[in-house]
């Protein structure tokens, strides 16, 4: 407990809503008897401008050093009260709120019992207030420079976007050239532009910007430091480079794999993958013989990928236009839930591409005499058994993680999901954030994304980075989690349990140390520490204990 607490209690009636069910005046006279309560008021609307100003002057005139409020939910007005305290020169964290409206007046019938509960809630808030400690806020500097790992479409897009927002960017690429998968593709739905032309456009944009540094044949070896101020050790052509960054974007793309076991077949001259087909479409020379009947097989490697539908539609149409002949698309479900795909599907049908739909029964695929025979029960033909033969069968592939995700994951200290892709902090709310502040992932390294989505992802990552570091500084709560160096046995439990990697060893003090900018305030460390060496201000053992003790006593 702090010496000489002088607590101001402000009760609010919220119109006449609270006093209808709770005897506020009764509570008020009881509270006045508590020795360290220096002031009690009852107001009609505490959140009104007038009352707030009054509250401010009471704080300064009476020298109150703790504020307790009995009223509505802190969700509504907490910020207003904190502001008022700050204006009167009191640390805004010395505030404790009892929600006697939503949690009591509104929900309990019967004035006597509601009043007794409200009185207890307020007294609990008072006992907590006695132990409250101020929390300081400080400005810390954040490096505005960004490292982007991977020079595919998501990485390049993020780089261009960030550079236009005036961030200095280092774009790291393992290969000799930028572009990633763009090198392998023949066309890019929904663009008219060829992948080659798009790549040229992006590279030109990158070269034009003085604030983008491209490091090809380079790899990340090590990351030190903290969010906002990382130190990266990079290796380029065998020689080391060190750079400082505030944030890191991982955009290393994905790999593909033909699942031989699912098909029960090996790839061959006339059973090829979409990527092989694209390569053949790109270079005219490779065709020995123009295929007259081409089949595209979908939904066997991966039933749930939109990429295969898009590839089959655009490559099927391209084949039809280029070679005439027959084009078949065999599928279970066309994934058309992206802009323009329904139109592309119609176009394909209008131009004579024939679609076959199979259900849960797998089609039989049997190569014979240079042909591939396909047999399936077609759903649209009353499950009639359809037999067709193709000169060329283009098969779908599974999107899989790259082999080195595990390595990069441990360098960056972030997580992979159950399928081995980079894990988002929250798939929906923070799709490009990782569990660590300042580290983001974008593109097909985090999910099975088609081209437009991967591009959009790169931009989203850029926005997230900009958000974090645009001003070059952050206004943060400092020492919200305090480590008592005398109690800390350096057992490292906290370091292992902090999901956000916000704790490190302070070698000077021989104790754990919380990095304020990285800390997300979850409090897990405080709960886990066996020596109780970590306290979470606002939820310290003392604060909670005082409330509990009081709760028991009152019941």
């Amino acid at each position: 407990m702090v010496e000489d607490t002088k607590i101001g209690v402000f009760l609010c009636d919220c119109g006449e809503v609270i006093s209808r069910n709770i005897d506020l005046s009764g509570i008020r006279s009881n509270l006045e008897k508590i020795s360290d309560v220096g002031h009690v008021t009852l107001s009609h609307y505490l959140c009104s401008q007038k009352e707030i100003e009054l509250m401010g002057s009471e704080i300064s005139e009476k020298g109150l050093n703790r504020v307790v409020i009995g009223g509505c939910s802190p969700q509504f007005c907490e910020v207003i009260f904190m502001e008022a305290m700050e204006k009167s020169g009191l640390n805004p964290y010395l505030l404790s709120i009892a929600n006697i409206r939503d949690q009591c007046g509104w929900v309990h019938p019967g004035k006597t019992r509601a009043t007794s509960k409200a009185a207890r809630q307020i007294k609990m808030a008072i006992s907590k207030a006695r132990f409250l400690e101020p929390i300081k806020k400080e400005t810390v500097s954040i490096n505005r420079d960004v490292l982007i790992i991977g020079g595919g479409i998501s990485g390049m897009e993020a780089a261009i976007e960030l550079s236009e927002l005036d961030h200095k960017v280092t774009l790291l690429e393992r290969e000799k050239v930028l572009g990633g998968r763009l090198h392998q593709l023949y066309s890019l739905y929904p663009l008219e532009l060829t992948p080659g032309a798009l790549l040229a456009e992006k590279i030109e944009a990158i070269n034009k910007r003085a604030n983008i540094e491209v490091l090809t044949t380079a790899e990340l070896l090590k990351i030190e430091g903290h969010p906002g101020n990382f130190v990266a050790k990079i290796q380029r052509d065998g020689s080391p480079i060190t750079r400082n960054f505030g944030a890191i974007v991982v955009a290393t793309g994905c790999d593909t794999q033909f699942p031989t076991e699912r098909y029960g077949l090996e790839l061959s001259d006339n059973i090829i993958t979409q990527l092989q087909f694209e390569r053949m479409l790109k270079s005219q020379e490779e065709w020995d013989k123009i295929p007259q009947k081409i089949g595209f097989m979908l939904d066997i490697s991966d039933e749930y990928s939109r990429i295969s539908t898009i590839s089959a539609l655009r490559n099927g149409l391209a084949a039809k236009r280029r070679f005439g002949g027959e084009v078949y698309i065999f599928c279970k479900n066309l994934k058309l839930d992206a802009p323009g795909l329904e139109g592309l599907y119609r176009e394909a049908r209008d131009e004579g591409v024939i679609f076959f739909k199979f259900g849960d029964g797998m089609p039989t695929i049997s190569p014979a005499h240079g042909q591939i025979n396909i047999q399936l029960e077609d759903l649209y033909l009353a499950r009639e058994l359809v037999t067709l033969s193709c000169d060329l069968l283009v098969v779908d592939e599974k999107i899989i993680p790259q082999r080195d995700f595990e390595i990069l994951k441990s360098i960056l200290n972030i997580d992979l999901d159950s399928n081995g892709f980079y894990q988002q902090a929250n798939v929906h709310l923070y799709p490009v954030s990782s569990i660590r502040k300042g580290i983001f992932s974008a593109g097909s390294c985090r999910a099975d994304l088609d081209f437009s989505d991967a591009l959009a992802d790169g931009r989203a990552a850029a926005q997230a980075v900009h958000q974090l570091s645009y001003s070059g500084k952050a206004w943060i709560e400092v020492e919200k989690l305090v480590v008592d160096a005398d109690k800390c046995a350096l057992c490292l439990t906290c370091i292992r349990s902090c999901p956000h990697h916000a704790i490190e060893v302070d070698h000077e003090k021989q104790a754990a140390k919380v990095i304020d900018l990285a800390c997300q305030g979850c409090g897990i460390c405080a709960a886990e520490c066996p020596a109780k060496a970590i306290q979470h201000k606002g939820y310290t053992d003392n604060e909670i204990g005082a409330q509990l003790e009081f709760l028991e006593e009152a019941i």
Binding site: E161, Y304, A338, L379, Y380, A382, A456
Partner: protein
């Protein structure tokens, strides 16, 4: 530095996201919303969790709405519409008309006294649309309020302890100077009455996906409108108003397959006995984690490929669904007690009007047209950007991403 000002039109999840992103980037935002409260469609949706979260993303909305409600850099202009916009990027002059809201959100403390004294019963003519509404202020139902129907009644106005209610105030004209504008006026749900043979509006037990959302949010469960009992045998009909060239909607709405599957799971979670059939053309089951969800759905839900064209009512509580059974090659009829039409997303009916005011183009199907397919937050008019379903069908996470991107584009023109 003087704060750069941005206008956002429409307070659905897309507009809300753009506003927040820009505010966090130090801009000053005017968020113009036609309705008395923000949130758009998604604010009337229900959580579809069973014993696990089914990732419908509806919970992302209230948190952001609340943030907008208290953000010091965002001014909320509810019951307002943009009438004129002149000038160019960096220097737009905007005329806004703010109709009276009757209840001043800055004064209303949501104490509820007005509703208590209102003489109109079940429902009251003045109420809080739902807990957590932003701004947290009561709303007058114009069709039920005696005063607004021409009778003498000022009870609520007299009793309001903060004098927040004022029936006499007329519309207000507001002039603003802004540097950029983000359009996020959203979508209209397809009106299932246009498909008369499906019997929506005629048979009480034919509901739409939107009805399901609203009923679940309000009552926490689905009961048959005809008799108030829980349904036993439910059919979902996909692609109602989507993927349909005949009515000019040749696009997939993206959201209906997913919500139908989530509803199906929820119905069976609430009552494991209930039978569910989903009639579909192609199931849109792509997306991170969605394949696994579909696999679980397949265990207890019957998926039938083929879209019914006609529904009739055989008894007050039974509907007959006629469809072409592709596996048998003939038309069959089966009975269900509840049919849910999975309606999709269509452009706002007044999109053309707004497009005219803004001087931006409409594209395919009547959605706002992005500058290119990948620069789809930019428009033909510099300084005016698009966010969310006004540009084409999107789910909530995608609307959030699009709203974020629009904000990013706007930031770029401002710097």
């Amino acid at each position: 530095m003087e704060k750069k000002r941005v206008l956002v039109i429409g307070g659905g999840i897309a507009g809300v996201t753009s506003a927040l992103e820009l505010a966090k980037n130090g801009r000053e935002i005017f968020l113009v919303e036609r309705e008395p409260s923000i949130g758009g469609h998604a604010a009337s949706f229900c959580c579809k969790a069973t014993d696990v979260c089914n990732k419908c993303s509806v919970c992302l909305v209230p948190e952001r709405m609340k943030e907008v409600g208290i953000h010091p850099q965002i001014s909320l202009l509810t019951t307002s519409e943009v009438r004129e916009i002149n000038g160019e990027a960096g220097d737009f002059r905007v005329k806004i008309v703010r109709k009276t809201r009757f209840v001043d959100p800055d004064r209303c403390t949501a104490c509820g006294i007005c509703s208590e004294v209102c003489p109109v019963e079940s429902p009251k003519a003045i109420s809080l649309p739902y807990p957590g509404v932003v701004p947290p202020a009561f709303v007058v139902d114009k069709d039920r309020c005696l005063r607004l129907q021409g009778q003498e009644c000022t009870i609520c106005q007299d009793k309001c302890p903060t004098q927040a209610i004022d029936f006499d105030q007329g519309p207000q004209e507001i002039d603003l100077d802004v540097e950029a504008t983000i359009v996020a006026n959203g979508f209209d749900v397809f009106d299932a009455r246009e498909k008369a043979p499906l019997g929506y509006g005629k048979y009480p037990n034919v509901l739409t996906g939107l009805d399901m959302e609203e009923r679940l949010l309000k009552d926490g469960a689905i009961l048959l409108p005809s008799n108030g009992r829980p349904p036993q045998d439910v059919a979902f009909i996909q692609c109602v108003g989507s993927r349909d060239e005949h009515i000019g909607n040749g696009y997939c709405s993206k959201i209906c397959c997913k919500y139908a599957m989530r509803f199906s799971r929820l119905l069976q979670y609430q009552n494991p006995e209930v039978k569910v059939t989903v009639f579909y053309m192609d199931l849109q089951n792509a997306g991170k984690g969605f394949g696994d969800f579909y696999e679980q759905c397949k265990e207890n839900i019957r998926f039938v490929q083929g879209i019914p064209v006609e529904i009739s009512q055989v008894s007050p509580d039974q509907l007959a669904v006629r469809y072409e059974d592709l596996s048998q090659g003939k038309t069959v009829e089966e009975s269900h007690d509840l049919v849910v039409l999975s309606v999709g997303i269509t452009p706002r009916k007044d999109a053309r009007n707004l497009a005219g005011i803004l001087g931006v183009n409409l594209g395919d199907f009547g959605f706002f047209d992005g500058l290119t397919q990948i620069e789809n937050t930019s428009t033909n008019r510099e300084g005016i950007f698009l966010a969310g379903c006004c540009q084409g069908p999107r789910d909530i996470p995608e609307s959030i991403a699009h709203g974020t991107l629009a904000a990013l584009r706007a930031v770029r023109t401002l710097t």
